[in-house]
């Protein structure tokens, strides 16, 4: 009986193996899970393949699903690298033990310290500045000063915000908690909510359109959304204001990557990571989405550089991940939907 079962099982198992193409492990490929969408990664991967001959296989999904997937796959994961569009999720991946530290002089010299993990498990590859955009017909730039100031009653019914469900806002509030503590930050967020001209919007583009249409006067968005909208319609009455230039600096986040703990092509993954931080790829990586390069030696695209120089907040972005849950709870308490 037992042997019968065993032979049945063997047959079934061989059948399984035969329907599934069993790929031998290639040395010359690297597998990427990316929360950054295909359009914003493919050009760099193509350049990498052209330069090194190493093939890049990738799949995209939202960051939460990718983390869950990596965790479920454990030692069996095909992924060698995780790319996300924010620091908080990289921090979470590192907390869950999904990433592996990478010692690399190249990465350390190309990427400023506050834009990478102190333990070297993840690295920023482009900078995304979350700044203020205002309606030029309704606001004079001298009225604007800081993120915190938008809680002042003088902005009553003049503020638009994207929903608190988006990680960019969660990171912003997390960094504010790191700076001001919870109590003060909660006051500020409550002030924002009191000043809203309309319920929080589903994304940054919508927030910008509302400011342009005059429903509100000012909003907080990532600069590349502004760039996209302006390149489509340059006549919109919108302009950038860099907040907190005399204290703290502009809140920045990153698109970044880490090498997975259980990947099968570690060397190739590190090579890809170093390539992405290098002079050649930095411009490509940032420009394709109108972001800022992390590598200080590289200048941003002229279209982006035209928005002016700004001082960025130098606090390490690991804080954005560490305090993200606290930030989400705080925003819930403040009634920020």
């Amino acid at each position: 009986m037992l042997s019968q079962i065993k032979s049945h099982f063997s047959i079934a198992f061989f059948f399984l193996l035969s329907i599934v193409a069993v790929c031998p492990v290639h040395a010359e490929e690297v597998v990427v899970y990316s929360a950054r969408i295909e359009q914003l990664i493919k050009p760099m991967f193509d350049a990498f393949t052209k330069e090194t001959g190493i093939k890049v296989k990738y799949t995209t999904d939202n960051e939460g699903a990718l983390l869950a997937r990596l965790e479920a796959e454990g030692k069996n994961t095909p992924a060698d690298m995780l790319i996300t569009a924010d620091a908080g999720n990289l921090w979470a991946a590192s907390q869950a033990g999904l990433l592996k530290p990478v010692k690399s002089g190249v990465l350390e010299s190309n990427i400023p310290a506050h834009l990478r993990d102190p333990a070297n498990e993840w690295f920023g590859l482009s900078i995304r500045a979350r700044t203020l955009i205002y309606n030029t017909k309704k606001v004079k730039p001298e009225e604007l000063s800081t993120y915190e100031d938008l809680a002042d009653p003088k902005w009553r019914k003049r503020l638009c915000l994207r929903t608190s469900k988006k990680v960019y806002n969660q990171s912003l509030v997390a960094m504010m908690i790191a700076e001001h503590g919870e109590a003060k930050t909660e006051e500020i967020v409550k002030g924002w909510v009191a000043n809203l001209a309309t319920d929080p919007l589903s994304d940054d583009t919508r927030a910008l359109e509302f400011v342009a249409a005059g429903k509100c006067d000012v909003t907080i968005v990532n600069t590349y959304y502004f760039g996209r909208l302006m390149s489509k319609d340059p006549k919109l009455p919108l302009a950038v204001f860099w907040p907190n230039q005399n204290d703290g600096g502009v809140h920045v986040n990153i698109s970044g990557a880490g090498v997975t703990r259980h990947g099968r092509h570690e060397a190739a993954a590190i090579k890809l990571l170093e390539f992405l931080s290098s002079d050649k790829a930095q411009n490509l990586f940032a420009d394709v989405n109108m972001e800022y390069p992390v590598n200080p030696k590289i200048t941003a695209d002229p279209f982006v550089a035209a928005w002016g120089e700004f001082k960025q907040n130098p606090m390490n972005l690991a804080k954005a991940g560490e305090l993200q849950t606290a930030a989400v709870k705080l925003m819930d308490r403040a009634g920020y939907r």
Binding site: F13, A65, N76, T198, D199, T325
Partner: protein, 541 residues
């Protein structure tokens, strides 16, 4: 006895249990979370957003159920029983919104009617006012309206199947009892169509509770958004699973109640009657009916398609890559086709088994088999993924120990895994239409056939197939378009390079580029017309 001479019969008898086991694996993964504490997130939820979330979810579900019942049943009734200008056209055209994903209807609705949309912008310019009186579309009424327009076809399709074969006859019966048309509809026709309509409404309820895309566009907080927030923003899969478990329990209770309620009724309406004479509506009445039908069609389908085409034409120049779009399209169609075949075959076997062995265990297995539809997609996706990776890990250990092969992943990243995940999600969609059709085959039909010496396959071919056919085609079409619209499972389980139209839409909408999402969305809608067209050809004889 029908199959007693066949040994394989034991196998199909087990179908409900096999499917139930498949569905139970991910559901059990989710529900098992109830045993573990999820820290202080519950405390936080109770103190902050939970009351709102419950109220929001309740009103949304109630609103969409009422809306789809009203629209779906109303349309089906007039199409089946009356004659009016354009009836033949509307009969199939009203199915078209099936191909329109709710999340697409949602962003089109906002794109058109929100403060920055062309409607309000134009009005502001004309009237030179700030339009503060204009109704806010980003609110409860707006979400309910969008979901009603997106989901009414479930009810319409199933109700039409019921009314077409018996609507007119039930009216005749009612009249012979001295009731007028309105009384006839409420006292006879509607109760007779109950299993179909209840099935349609069940699907609508599950779809509404599981929806994330639409409520995200509207930033309307529901149970599902709370689940996503707990998981993706607070990094607590534990709390997310616990919230999802509550959702499963609620839906399960509704399913059981609905069936208990139905169990006390007997249905025996087998003959698809010859096309009964329809009641011709007079000029103005016909005009009103045609007009109402056109408005539904316009809002649910024509207007969104026009807006999407306008956006698509705009982004066409720099996004269009013929070869890639053919790939997306082919992936979408082939996946949906495979899933529809697999799922319908499983459901037919399951429904037959349940019919032959109506014991409690089988009944419960069937109930469990349909629960996957009520889970938010992302939760189900990870629920499917966990057992799958576990199995894969065991298999590759075996391969290593027995055959010294380093296989890496075996099932994951294959179409097999993907189809199993779809099966778990979409059983319900296929089950309701086929099960309703099966209820028409009364025991007396079988007895009559057997007394004439018809058995086994002959019986199925000659007697059952004609009765089941409309239900099976309905089920296949519904599954086909549903799979094509599905996002989270497709994203998580697709093999490398298997991007579909839905994946493309996700990539664009996740960056807020609605106009860029229009091209894949239009393609998806057009592709979704294929099964609808086939369905129409098959059932509209």
């Amino acid at each position: 006895m029908l199959f007693s001479r066949y040994r394989f019969f034991a196998f199909w008898r087990l179908t409900p249990f096999i499917v139930a086991a498949l569905v139970l694996a991910p559901v059990a993964v989710v529900v098992s979370s109830l045993l573990a504490p999820a820290g202080d997130i519950w405390q936080h939820l109770l103190e902050t957003t939970l009351p709102d979330i419950l109220i929001n979810t309740f009103w949304l579900a109630a609103g969409v159920i009422c809306g789809t019942a009203l629209v779906g049943i109303g349309l089906a009734w007039f199409i089946s029983v009356y004659e009016f200008p354009g009836r033949r056209f509307f009969a199939w055209a009203l199915l078209l919104p099936m191909a329109m994903p709710a999340y697409v209807t949602a962003f089109v609705a906002l794109g058109l009617f929100d403060f920055t949309g062309p409607v309000q912008t134009t009005l502001r310019a004309w009237l030179d006012s700030d339009l503060s009186w204009f109704p806010e579309i980003r609110g409860r009424a707006g979400v309910i309206l969008v979901m009603t327009l997106a989901f009414y076809p479930y009810v319409y399709l199933l109700a039409k199947n019921a009314f077409l074969s018996q609507g007119k006859r039930s009216l005749e019966v009612a009249q012979s009892l001295g009731l007028n048309k309105v009384q006839g509809f409420f006292k006879v026709a509607l109760p007779m169509a109950r299993p179909w309509i209840a099935g349609g409404l069940m699907l609508v309820l599950m779809e509404t509770l599981a929806d994330f895309g639409t409520v995200a566009v509207f930033n309307y907080n529901t149970f599902t958004t709370a689940i996503y927030k707990a998981w993706f923003s607070m990094f607590s899969l534990q709390a997310a699973s616990q919230l999802a478990s509550l959702l499963i329990i609620i839906v399960f209770v509704v399913i059981v109640l609905e069936q208990q309620f139905r169990a006390r009724m007997r249905y025996a309406e087998s003959k698809r009657t010859a096309r009964a004479q329809r009641i011709t509506l007079s000029g103005w009445q016909g005009g009103v009916v045609s007009g109402s039908m056109f408005s539904v069609l316009f809002l649910a389908f024509l207007l969104p398609v026009m807006q999407l085409s306008y956006w698509a034409a705009d982004s066409f120049a720099h996004d269009y890559d013929f070869a890639r779009y053919l790939d997306f399209l082919w992936h979408s169609l082939s996946l949906s086709g495979m899933a529809a075949l697999l799922i319908c075959a499983m459901v037919i076997a399951m429904v037959y088994a349940a019919r032959r062995y109506p014991d409690t265990a089988t009944k419960n297995a069937v109930r469990i088999a349909t629960i996957g539809y009520a889970l938010p997609g992302a939760v189900l996706a990870i629920g499917v993924y966990l057992p799958l990776t576990w199995l894969d890990a065991r298999l590759s250990e075996l391969a290593l120990n027995w055959f010294q092969m380093d296989t890496g992943q075996i099932l994951q990243g294959t179409l097999v895994a993907m189809l199993i995940a779809y099966l778990i999600r979409f059983m319900a969609v296929s089950h309701y239409p086929i099960d309703s059709a099966m209820q028409r085959i009364t025991p007396s039909i079988d007895e009559a056939a057997m007394s004439l010496g018809v058995h086994g396959w002959t019986m199925i071919k000659k007697v059952h197939a004609p009765i089941l056919k409309p239900g099976i085609f309905t089920a296949a079409a519904l599954v086909f378009v549903d799979v094509m619209k599905e996002m989270p499972i497709t994203l998580m389980t697709r093999p490398f390079g298997w991007d579909t139209l839905a994946v493309r839409i996700y990539e664009m909408t996740s960056e807020g580029q609605w106009d860029q999402a229009a091209l894949p969305a239009v393609t998806l809608v057009l592709a979704g017309l294929i099964p609808i067209f086939l369905l129409m050809r098959q059932t509209e004889k």
